[in-house]
Subunit: 408 residues, 2 copies
């Protein structure tokens, strides 16, 4: 693995304070799956009654742990749940032996923790296609079970990192009927990030009470507007997993509390943005707002075409307001566009409209705008009311450095 | 524009000898559209009776010259034809003024050459969205008309280069009924290269005789298996143009001569490969053969997903036999795949089958294979008989260097 010594320039100043979520506890350990001298496995335990929802990669070659989790979502909440996650090896494309590793890990976790195997979820992230040394993780299960602590969520965020340069966490608290409900989430991910999930593992915990089916519906809907609207490099992982655990320990039914779902959206958007801000080699965070498209779906196609274009991303890296490449990306996206109805802004700077550069456009102003760390590109198609916002980062030498030598 | 001082390591040893095509002549000049001290405009003249076929970008934001050419393809061949091409400015996304530039260029070319304006085709390549100084080209038309020479095709290939590091040419001659028919083509292109054409301009000339409708049908079909199967960076230009001019001056009807169409295929494939070999920053030429797919269309989707994956391309740049990323690309492509039916080879090295790495696979062998300049990746889906071969290059620091500062 390439040496990653510098924290992303886009990283938040500090890991946020995450509230304790009653009914959830965490521990992490050094299992030596691949990395040395760092934690690489975390175990979260959820109290009986915890509803668990999940959204996973749509890859046709998804990993054994993902297939196992998908089969288990929607099961009986009465016995609680366990989530075991390791970094260093993704146990993806490991054939029958990969399934045996998942069986071993889930059965041993069930034995040690007392959680039934049908409620033990696992995830693995790291190199694809190499044998999973699951015995190293099994050897740490007693330690992980004994060390459970409701305050150790930050250590869990660290243990699941791969090429991440900073641990990712986010939290919100809301008042519902005079009582406090908390939401705390962690994530990892920095490359192979594209729609339909990403090389991302995201775990969110709340003490709010919501029954499983509703939790699942809302999670999927919010995922479509957050994690499915980010991209680093257009590549999609075989292992993406997003799980939301509602312990209900606050005693507050959050099902119909709009403030709760809004807070969940904010946590998910914050984590999604942090993943982009840790994009491999990223030096710029870019928001792309598409409006006036023929449909929301078309707006997303245009947004992602811009966000994934290597020519757009390298221009951003070079601080070049090369709006011609945005026109190019819209043209190639396949969604409806009419050249002479496009309006393009960089931030508040009107760049182009009516099929050409604006008469008021001054390249020097745009060049100045491009020096900022956070950039906004706005495109109005002039066709309808479809809209979507997506987020990405630039494409730099750092991306090549990290990925041309990931496994050495 | 970034300084490009080194010729691609993948360039052919020399520009090939191109045969004179009776009925076709060429001239180039320094118009100073953008570049200094190099030719940047070429004019080709075709004798009366020349059939002209063309395939163009499918971009929704295609340039004014492309729209003008598309409207003219299929016109009356009796008056011959003229093709005027400049580099330095693409006259794309230049609104109404862009159309006026095309009008000016085609009308002035018609006036100077005597070719009717309905048979004057133009193309422009270079920066998007900047005003086209067409008057600089118009000022050179007399010179270009006077200097016409059947042997100056190589100079024409040089005049249309932008970030290209070498001029691209290819030729074949075939015997039909005891007579010789020749085909000679030139191309430019090195970035923004993706299916549905690319930032590519390709002009092919033959003295064979084929009527226009048939020429058009065959050109489009061969384009689908050659230029539409290459990708450098997944980006698609607003200006792509491929034209084929059959002067018929050999007096040989080539319509039903299989050898003629095979030779045309070879010229087009050779030029397509040269475009990839001049891919911005490329150090490896990669052929990706997909077999066993559910359909040919699925095979192409898988092939392009691998060829366009930044993670696959950076692994190749790093000489890393990271076949896990190939599995990832297949998984995300959206076309049918079953993880446990995949078979993957690097050249003759069996890498993976039955859902996992082959028991005979030795990473050291694969790593040795990856050091070669020309690489072959073979993927069998194990699902059907669909097949497709695509070509791409690696993604290196050179690509970032060139594109993070293209306009400065």
């Amino acid at each position: 693995m390439a040496k990653i010594t510098k924290v992303s320039p886009l990283a938040p100043a500090a890991f946020p304070e995450l509230p304790v979520i009653a009914g959830a506890s965490f521990a992490s350990a050094e299992a030596g799956v691949r990395y040395k001298n760092r934690t690489d496995v975390m175990l979260a335990l959820l109290a009986p009654g915890t509803a668990v929802a999940g959204v996973f990669t749509r890859s046709a070659t998804r990993s054994a742990p993902v297939l196992d989790c998908q089969a288990k979502i929607g099961g009986d909440a009465s016995a609680g749940a366990a989530i075991l996650v390791n970094s260093g090896n993704s146990n993806a494309f490991t054939g029958h032996r990969g399934q045996l590793s998942v069986k071993e890990l889930t059965e041993e976790t069930a034995r040690v923790t007392g959680v039934p195997v049908s409620r033990v979820f696992t995830a693995s992230t790291g190199v694809i296609g190499e044998p999973m040394p699951h015995e190293r993780i099994v050897a740490k299960l007693d330690e992980l079970n004994t060390a459970q602590d409701p305050e150790k969520i930050r250590d869990a965020a660290r243990a699941i990192m791969t090429t991440d340069t900073f641990p990712k966490g986010s939290a919100r608290t809301v008042e519902i009927g005079g009582k406090t409900v908390s939401i705390a989430g962690i994530a990892k991910g920095s490359g192979m990030i594209a729609p339909d999930m990403a090389t991302m593992l995201v775990y969110i915990f709340t003490d709010g009470k919501v029954e499983q089916a509703r939790l699942q519906t809302e999670l999927a809907a919010i995922c479509d507007k957050t994690f499915n609207c980010i991209t680093v490099d257009s590549d999609t992982s075989t292992s993406d997993s997003l799980m939301l655990c509602a312990t209900g320990a606050s005693g507050v039914d959050a099902t119909d509390a709009e403030a709760f779902w809004e807070a969940l959206y904010e946590v998910m958007l914050d984590l999604a943005h942090q993943v982009v801000k840790d994009g491999e080699g990223a030096t710029k965070f870019v928001e792309i707002q598409i409006t006036g498209a023929a449909s929301d779906a078309d707006a997303k196609v245009h947004g992602m075409a811009i966000a994934n274009s290597p020519l757009v991303k390298t221009a951003i890296a070079g601080q070049d307001p090369n709006w011609g490449r945005i026109v190019m990306a819209i043209g190639k996206s396949g969604a409806a566009a009419e050249r002479d109805r496009l309006t393009i802004h960089f931030g508040d700077i009107l760049v182009a409209q009516h099929g050409w550069v604006s008469p008021d456009y001054k390249e020097a102003d745009a060049a100045e705008h491009m020096k900022q760390q956070d950039l906004l590109i706005r495109v109005d198609l002039g066709l309808g009311t479809g809209a979507c916002t997506v987020w990405t980062c630039d494409l730099t030498h750092g991306y090549i450095d990290i990925n041309a030598d990931y496994r050495s």
